[in-house]
């Protein structure tokens, strides 16, 4: 057979293969994602991983359309609208601010959230049993856990009297968390020293202050703002020689002293099951209850503790889920 004929044959075979494969891709559902970016990236990684395990592989059985605000909370609304206009089959929202922006933008496209401290108090869902709208997800319980975190910090530091609480005032998650913290502080005998931030300027101002004069520990209230500035926060705490309690174990790996929370990646994994139900079984979000983290991890950075001159009690070491050197 001539070369020309072979070429034609191969071209036809390739075209045929594309045609056969195309429908599989062309008809694949699309998942829209609104993420604050930064260390929330591991939530998305967890989602991809969880969906792949359930047979929905990126680029084959499912596609992603990602809007990354890169920490710009103000841009969340416009990004939410843009995402909604592209009509994905389901939208995945990370963090409270993203979810609220999307809730405003659509009441019909199924929406799955994660990394929200208290979805009922935030006005995202009516109850854990049923959202009664187009939303469901995995709640991080970070708001209520703020109290628990203070208890654990007190346990670690029995002489703890004051704790600096950095609150991103524009984010409801931080507001709710502080409320739980303050209540717990009253009962535990620890004063919560509130410092509010809403912009980079506020951070600069705050970081100019001498924290060690204000408190003997720092607790980060869960917020996008905090996540996006966590490195700076950790650095400041170290320089102030103050123990820093955070709300995400990956931050402990970055240098914070201690965290007690669920895992961003495991949130994504957990939410993947809900997304899969919506995509494959066409289940309505209102019929999927909101879940809480399957596990809470106590993480401890021993190097940071050593740097702070802290002696960690044996029982703490025994009960810690993750020890970072």
């Amino acid at each position: 057979m001539s070369n020309f004929r072979w070429t034609k044959l191969m071209a036809c075979a390739v075209a045929l293969a594309i045609l056969l494969a195309a429908p599989a891709w062309a008809g694949a559902p699309v998942i829209g994602v609104l993420t604050p970016g930064g260390s929330y990236e591991s939530v998305l990684d967890g989602l991809r991983e969880g969906l792949a395990k359930l047979g929905l592989r990126e680029g084959k059985e499912v596609g992603y359309l990602i809007e990354d605000s890169k920490g710009d909370v103000k841009s969340l609304e416009s990004r939410a609208l843009k995402l909604v206009e592209s009509r994905p089959d389901v939208i995945f929202a990370i963090a409270t601010a993203s979810t609220l922006a999307l809730k405003k933008a659509t009441q019909t496209i199924p929406l799955v959230f994660t990394a929200i401290g208290d979805p009922v108090q935030a006005g995202v869902v009516a109850s854990f049993a049923s959202s009664q709208n187009n939303i469901t997800g995995v709640a991080s319980m970070n708001a209520a856990l703020s109290a628990k975190r203070l208890e654990i910090l007190k346990e670690l530091l029995p002489h703890l009297k004051k704790s600096l609480a950095i609150v991103a005032v524009k984010e409801s998650s931080a507001q709710f968390s502080y409320k739980y913290l303050a209540e717990a502080g009253d009962k535990l005998g620890v004063q919560a020293v509130r410092r509010e931030i809403s912009s980079d300027g506020d951070i600069e101002l705050l970081f100019r202050e001498r924290w060690s004069a204000m408190a003997d520990s720092v607790i980060s209230m869960p917020s996008i703002f905090a996540v996006n500035h966590i490195a700076t926060l950790i650095d400041k705490a170290k320089r102030e020689k103050l123990p820093l309690m955070v709300f995400e174990s990956s931050h402990v790996e970055m240098g914070a002293l201690i965290s007690y929370a669920g895992d961003f990646r495991s949130f994504g994994n957990q939410a993947a099951a809900q997304v899969a139900r919506i995509l494959t079984k066409k289940t309505k979000p209102a019929d999927i209850p909101v879940e809480t983290p399957e596990r809470l991890f106590l993480s401890l950075n021993l190097a940071t503790a050593k740097g702070l001159g802290l002696k960690i009690p044996r029982n703490f070491l025994d009960r810690a889920d993750r020890l970072i050197d």
């Binding site: 009922v120 854990f128 049993a129 628990k148 208890e151 009962k187 099951a273 999927i288 879940e291 596990r295």
Partner: protein
């Protein structure tokens, strides 16, 4: 079964039975029946297997789930008991910090523990550690339920509480285990709040074919775990389902077996389920599959069965069609070959297309056809030869057309017979049964003496044997033949003879005797030929008799014809004379009558005042008489003209003729107030004018001979043996039956002129008209009861 098949075949193929059709249906019935039988045997067992396999599958699944849950619960209970022991030790040494550490360690080791605590016998909390809540946050619900559970708990026995669900949390259940000795006044208990997320994960991850699902129900029948968690959170209960009730009863009876059944689940879907009860906690594990999907596989099997059967039937049909064709087409070809042979086409050969029995049959058939052809050719040759011989013989034996007697006829034949048979002598004799003698018709070669001697039929003689048996007697050797009693022929030098029965219309009427001087001449092989000659002789005799009779008949016929010719001539002359008479009567007789009538009337008119009453009366009588004479002559003329002036017969609608007659009688009908009715009347071949006259005369008589009431006349008609029988019925005075024939005689009257007008010729004319048409006319009547006149016209 055989009758059923036969009936079916008759229904399907009502025409002449066909072997092919029979074979076809037998093969179809056999093959298709076998397929149907196999499938009917297989299908129920297949359905049973599907059901059984589903039940087994569900049973395996539920047992597996039970095992998984049991292991998880055992792990939880084990950890709980271990923690309680450790609490006890710590309490004994009053190590409060140790209690907390024990609790923290336990929660770390067992993710299901959401909260651990110790409460005293009076419900006070001495320890609480929560995974999410701070220790100081009161959770009265858990403490309250734990206290209640603890109160129920026995020593070393873990009590499981009810599953709790709130809107702000996932479901949880509380366990309690007492601590310390029963004798101690302060009976503390340890409690644990267990998160049931692991149970939900188990339900969510459960997979079974046909969309199988697992559910877990608490001891109240309420869903605590299901694939659809919203059903759980809506706290659906299946306690009212019969299957669940049975499961609870089984649990109460401490029966640990599986229970199978169907019910409608919380989503309203009919399902088939298997239930197993756990002992502690008393939960029900349910594995279910939608009935629609279960039955779908059964429906698939049924459809498979139907399609397989249909395919099987189709294949059977095809095979039956092919086989029946393959069997019957060669037979049909053989039939065709046989038909060809029957029509005389002996050259026809049947195609031999196989090497089996049918092929052999075809080969044999062809051989038979070949043999037949040869035999036929041989036979044809023989027949042709014999035909030629017989034809020649027959030609020579044809009777002379001018023979005046049978003796003269056979005298001419005997020589020809001798020549045809090669005999030396021949003697033809007819048997006189009455006198028992044989009369010689003709002979040649015998002496008169011999003929006379053998004239009398002797019992046992060859002649008598032949006459009695009707069979020929051939004697190749007269001397040696014991059947020949009288061997007189030998005296005359004859050595061999043949006595042949001369039969006419199957009856032996005589004997033909042939003899030869050569011994061994008349042998059996000549029998057929001689009998053929004998039959010819019989035909000759018969033909002669017929010819003779014909001759006689012809003569008689000629004589009759001559007589008839003379009579016809006489009739013609008579008719002509009659016609002339009629003419004379109409003109010559009437003319003087008219003169008499006219002049007498003139006399009366001219001399009325001058003649006396007697004279006038006498003149009146004369006028009347003349008029009456005129009437009679006219009637007679009319009577005579029925035959002479009749028109040709044409299609005559009797109804129209009747209308015409009634029109002529209109005045009489109106005057009498008569009612005339009739049946549907046919069309006949008749003289229309004469038919009208006939009806007019009969109806006119009915009107005339009325009895004081308005006449009712009905004309009926019906078919009667190839003729139309008409009836004219009236309600008039009737006629005495003794005069039934007389009334049809010309000029015969039963009443005087003073009683009823008329000359008495009407019915005679009717009779003549009817008889001219080939019919009959007659009367049925009684005096005072009207009259029924019938006449027939050939149809």
């Amino acid at each position: 079964m055989g009758r059923l098949i036969q009936t079916l075949m008759q229904v399907i193929s009502p025409s002449r039975p066909s072997l092919r059709r029979r074979l076809f249906w037998i093969l179809i019935a056999t093959g298709g029946g076998a397929i149907l039988l196999v499938n009917l045997i297989w299908l129920p067992s297949a359905i049973r297997d599907v059901r059984q396999s589903q039940v087994e599958l569900q049973s395996l699944a539920v047992r597996s789930l039970h095992e998984q849950m049991r292991q998880m619960i055992e792990a939880i209970e084990g950890q709980f008991k271990n923690t309680t022991l450790q609490f006890q030790v710590a309490l004994m040494s009053d190590d409060r910090d140790g209690l907390r550490q024990i609790a923290q360690r336990a929660m770390q080791q067992q993710p299901a523990f959401e909260e651990l605590g110790i409460i005293t016998g009076d419900g006070r909390e001495t320890l609480r550690l929560s995974r999410r809540l701070t220790g100081s946050v009161a959770s009265s619900s858990s403490v309250g339920s734990a206290a209640r559970l603890a109160a129920q708990a026995k020593k070393n026995t873990i009590v499981w509480g009810a599953v709790a669900m709130t809107e702000t949390s996932e479901p949880w259940v509380t366990l309690a285990l007492p601590m310390g000795s029963a004798t101690s006044g302060d009976r503390a208990s340890v409690y644990a709040v267990i998160n049931l997320k692991w149970l939900w994960r188990l339900a969510a991850g459960f997979k079974l074919s046909n969309e199988g699902q697992m559910s877990v129900l608490d001891q109240g029948g309420r869903l605590i775990a299901a694939a659809d968690t919203s059903s759980v959170l809506r706290q659906h209960s299946l306690a009212d389902r019969d299957l669940i009730v049975r499961a609870f009863h089984a649990a109460a009876a401490e029966s640990s077996g599986l229970i199978h059944g169907g019910f409608t689940n919380e989503q309203g879907t009919p399902v088939e389920a298997t239930v197993l009860t756990m002992q502690s906690p008393s939960w029900l594990i349910l594995v279910s599959q939608p009935q629609a999907l279960l039955y779908a596989s059964i429906h698939e099997k049924i459809w498979f069965f139907v399609l397989l059967s249909a395919a099987g039937w189709a294949v059977c049909g095809l095979i039956a069609q092919r086989l029946s064709r393959s069997f019957t087409i060669p037979i049909v070809r053989l039939m065709g070959g046989a038909e060809q042979l029957a029509t005389g086409n002996l050259d026809h050969q049947v195609a031999v297309e196989s090497r089996d029995e049918i092929g052999d049959l075809a080969l044999q058939f062809n051989r038979m056809a070949g043999a037949l052809r040869l035999s036929h050719q041989d036979l044809e040759g023989k027949i042709a030869a014999r035909t030629r011989e017989l034809s020649a013989l027959y030609t020579t034996l044809l009777p002379h057309s001018d023979a005046q007697s049978i003796e003269e006829l056979f005298a001419g034949i005997v020589e020809r017979v001798i020549a045809a048979t090669g005999a030396d002598a021949a003697l033809f004799r007819l048997f006189d049964r009455d006198n028992q003698i044989l009369n010689c018709l003709a002979q040649r070669g015998f002496s008169d003496e011999y003929v006379q001697e053998t004239r009398q039929l002797t019992p046992g003689s060859a002649n008598s044997v032949v006459i009695a048996s009707g069979a020929a007697l051939l004697a190749p050797d007269i001397a040696a033949d014991e059947r020949i009693k009288v061997k007189r022929q030998i005296v005359f030098g004859f050595q061999s003879c043949a006595f042949l029965p001369l039969a006419v219309k199957g009856e032996v009427r005589g004997v033909i005797q042939l003899t030869s001087r050569s011994a061994g001449y008349f042998t059996e092989d000549k029998r057929e030929y001689l009998m053929a000659i004998t039959r010819l002789m019989g035909i000759v005799v018969e033909n002669y008799q017929l010819f003779d009779a014909l001759r006689g008949a012809k003569s008689s016929l000629e004589s009759t014809n001559a007589k008839l010719d003379r009579q016809a001539q006489e009739l013609l002359r008579s008719n002509a004379e009659l016609e002339q008479f009629a003419y004379v009567a109409s003109h010559d007789l009437q003319e003087p009558l008219r003169m008499i009538t006219g002049y007498t009337q003139l006399l009366l008119k001219r001399y009325r005042g001058q003649l006396d009453a007697n004279a006038q009366e006498y003149i009146g009588f004369a006028v009347d008489g003349a008029k009456r004479m005129q009437g009679l002559i006219q009637d007679l003329l009319a009577y005579s003209r029925v035959a002479t002036r009749g028109e040709e017969f044409t299609d005559c609608a009797v109804a129209e003729v009747l209308d015409g007659a009634l029109a002529s009688l209109r005045a009489a009908i109106e005057e009498s107030g008569a009612t005339i009715s009739h049946d549907p009347l046919p069309t006949v071949q008749a003289d229309q004018r004469q038919m009208g006259q006939l009806l007019q005369n009969l109806i006119g008589n009915a009107l005339k001979y009325r009895n004081g009431q308005a006449p009712r006349v009905h004309i009926g008609c019906q078919r009667d043996n190839g003729a139309w029988r008409f009836a004219v019925r009236d309600n008039g005075i009737g006629i005495d039956p003794q005069y039934a024939d007389k009334i049809f005689v010309i000029f015969q009257r039963l009443h005087t002129r003073e009683e009823y007008e008329g000359t008495g010729i009407g019915l005679a004319v009717c009779k003549k008209i009817v008889e001219r048409h080939g019919g009959k006319i007659w009367l049925e009547s009684e005096v005072g009861k009207g009259a029924n006149f019938y006449f027939s016209i050939p149809a």
